[in-house]
C-alpha cells in the first residue's frame, strides 16, 4: 500500500505542480488575509538610520534594477521614498542599469511627487543612466558634474536649484541602494571604502545572503532582503503597499514548494525501501 502511494507521489505530473503554484499565487492575491510582519534587525537598523537623517538633508537613492524584479524591488523604492519625503529629505536618484532603471525611477518618483507635493529640481532630481558603472561610481566621488553634466531630461545640473552646491558624495547624508544585481559590491568596494559614504541596501531575496557580510562589517548600515524586506520596511514606514499585499502569495508558494519537496523525499525513500 505504502509503495503504491509512493509510486503515485513519485510521478506527479509537472502540470499539477504548475497549477498548484498558480493557485497559491492567485488566491492570496485576490483574497488578502492579514499576516504578521516581524521586522528583522537589518531592516530596523536601515529604517532607524534614514529616520535619523536631519530633515531637509539630501539622500542618494539608486534604482539599480531591471524590470524583471520589479515585484521585489519597486516596493522598496516606494517605501523609502515615502519615508524620505515624509521627512522632507531631498532625493537624488541615478541608475547603473541602462534598461529600465531611469524609466522606473521617473515613473515611481513622479507618481509619488504628485502625492507629496514635491517639485522636480527643488525636492528631487533624476540623474539617469551612464554606461560603465565602475567609472561612474568612482567619478561621482570626485565630480558629479563631470559624469552627469545634465540630468535624465537633459537639463544642465547648474540650472536645478537643488543641485547648486552638490558635486560629490559628501553632499549626501546617506546612500540607499535598491538593486537586483552585483552592483552593491561596487557601491561598497568603491564608494564606501574609498569615499567613506554611509550606505544601506535593498536587494532581491536571492542576493540578500551575500550582503549580510557587509552589514556585519558595518560597510552597509542595514539590508532589506526581497519582498519580505520590502514588507518590513512598509510596516515601519506605516503604509502598507505592494510588498505587504504580496506576502500572502509568497507565503503560500513557499509552503507549496516545501510540501512538494517533502512529497518527493517521501516517494524517494519509500521507493528505495521497496527495492
Amino acid at each position: 500500500m505504502l509503495t503504491r502511494i509512493a509510486d503515485v507521489l513519485a510521478r506527479i505530473d509537472r502540470r499539477i505542480i504548475y497549477l498548484l503554484i498558480s493557485i497559491s499565487v492567485i488566491i492570496p492575491t485576490l483574497v488578502i488575509f492579514p499576516l504578521p510582519v516581524q521586522v528583522s534587525p537589518e531592516t530596523q537598523k536601515l529604517y532607524d538610520r534614514v529616520e535619523a537623517i536631519p530633515d531637509s538633508s539630501m539622500i542618494l537613492l539608486t534604482f539599480d534594477y531591471y524590470p524583471s524584479t520589479l515585484a521585489e524591488t519597486e516596493p522598496m523604492s516606494v517605501a523609502v521614498l515615502k519615508q524620505c519625503w515624509r521627512k522632507n529629505l531631498k532625493v537624488v536618484t541615478l541608475s547603473t542599469v541602462g534598461l529600465g532603471g531611469p524609466s522606473i525611477a521617473d515613473r515611481v518618483m513622479s507618481t509619488l511627487a504628485d502625492k507629496f507635493g514635491k517639485v522636480y529640481g527643488i525636492d528631487y532630481v533624476n540623474l539617469g543612466y551612464k554606461a560603465n558603472y565602475q567609472a561612474v561610481l568612482l567619478g561621482l566621488g570626485k565630480s558629479i558634474r563631470s559624469i552627469y553634466p545634465t540630468d535624465y531630461y537633459d537639463t544642465p545640473l547648474d540650472s536645478l536649484p537643488m543641485m547648486k552646491n552638490v558635486d560629490t558624495y559628501d553632499a549626501f547624508d546617506f546612500i540607499f541602494i535598491v538593486s537586483d544585481n552585483g552592483i552593491v559590491d561596487n557601491w561598497v568596494g568603491l564608494v564606501n571604502a574609498q569615499f567613506g559614504s554611509e550606505m544601506g541596501a535593498g536587494v532581491t531575496a536571492v542576493m540578500a545572503p551575500k550582503f549580510y557580510a557587509y552589514v556585519r562589517s558595518n560597510q552597509l548600515v542595514g539590508l532589506l532582503g526581497g519582498m519580505k524586506g520590502a514588507a518590513e520596511y512598509e510596516y515601519l514606514v506605516g503604509e502598507k503597499g505592494a510588498a505587504t499585499a504580496g506576502m500572502g502569495a509568497q507565503s503560500l508558494v513557499h509552503l507549496t514548494i516545501i510540501i512538494f519537496i517533502l512529497i518527493g523525499n517521501f516517494a524517494y525513500f519509500a521507493g528505495r525501501k521497496k527495492k
Partner: protein
C-alpha cells in the same frame, strides 16, 4: 602595424590606465586626480559607444537571420521592429513619461521581463520536487536549512512557529555569513590578481584573440 594596433597599443592603454588608477588611489596630488577624473569621463563615453556597438551587432545578426529565413526568424523580426521603434522614439521624442519609448517600456518590456522572471517559481517548484533529495548528510543539512529559511522568510513561518524568523536570522548571520565571507574574499583576491595580469599584459584574452 596590425600587431601594434591589435596588441601593443591596447596593452599599453590597459597598463597606463591601470597604473594611473593605482597612483590616484594612493596619491593626494590634485593634478593626478584631475587627470584620472578625465579618464573616468572617457570611460563612460567609451561605454556609450560600446552599447552602440552592441546594437549594431545584434541588428546585423538579426537582419541576416531574417533575410535567410533561419530558424526563429520571426522572433528576430519582432526584435528589429521594436529596436527601431524604441530607438527612433527615444531619438525624436526623448524618454520621458508619455513618450513612445516610455510607453513601450512600461507596457511591453517591463511586463514581459517580469513575466519571464516569475516563471522561475514554477520551474523551481518542479525542480525541487524532482531533484531535492536527502540522499547524503550534506544534502539533508541543505534541505533542512533551505526549508527553515524558506519558511522563516515569510510571515506564514512565524504563524507556524514563532521562533522561525529568529532561527533564520541566525542561519543568515552565522553559517551563511562565514561562507559568504570566504567567497567574497576569494573573489576579491581573484579580481585583484586578474587586474594585475591585465595591467602587466600577461592576460590578453580581453583583446579577443590569442
Amino acid at each position: 602595424m596590425h600587431s601594434f594596433f591589435g596588441k601593443q597599443l591596447p596593452v599599453a592603454v590597459a597598463f597606463f590606465s591601470g597604473v594611473l588608477m593605482i597612483i590616484t588611489f594612493f596619491s593626494g596630488d590634485q593634478t593626478v586626480a584631475d587627470f584620472s577624473q578625465e579618464q573616468l569621463v572617457w570611460v563612460t563615453i567609451v561605454g556609450g559607444f560600446s552599447l552602440l556597438l552592441g546594437v549594431a551587432s545584434i541588428t546585423r545578426v538579426s537582419l541576416s537571420d531574417v533575410r535567410k529565413r533561419r530558424k526563429g526568424w520571426p522572433y528576430k523580426a519582432v526584435l528589429l521592429i521594436f529596436l527601431v521603434a524604441s530607438s527612433l522614439g527615444a531619438i525624436i521624442e526623448g524618454t520621458e513619461r508619455g513618450t513612445l519609448y516610455d510607453w513601450l517600456f512600461q507596457n511591453m518590456n517591463a511586463p514581459m521581463m517580469s513575466t519571464m522572471f516569475s516563471l522561475l517559481a514554477f520551474y523551481i517548484a518542479s525542480a525541487a520536487y524532482r531533484a531535492f533529495r536527502a540522499r547524503t548528510v550534506e544534502a539533508t543539512i541543505l534541505l533542512i536549512t533551505a526549508t527553515i529559511v524558506m519558511l522563516g522568510r515569510v510571515p506564514l513561518g512565524e504563524l507556524i512557529y514563532g521562533k522561525l524568523p529568529e532561527i533564520t536570522d541566525w542561519i543568515m548571520n552565522y553559517p551563511n555569513l562565514s561562507v559568504q565571507r570566504g567567497i567574497i574574499i576569494g573573489a576579491a583576491l581573484g579580481a585583484a590578481s586578474m587586474s594585475l595580469r591585465i595591467i602587466l599584459g600577461i592576460e590578453r584574452t580581453y583583446l579577443g584573440r590569442q
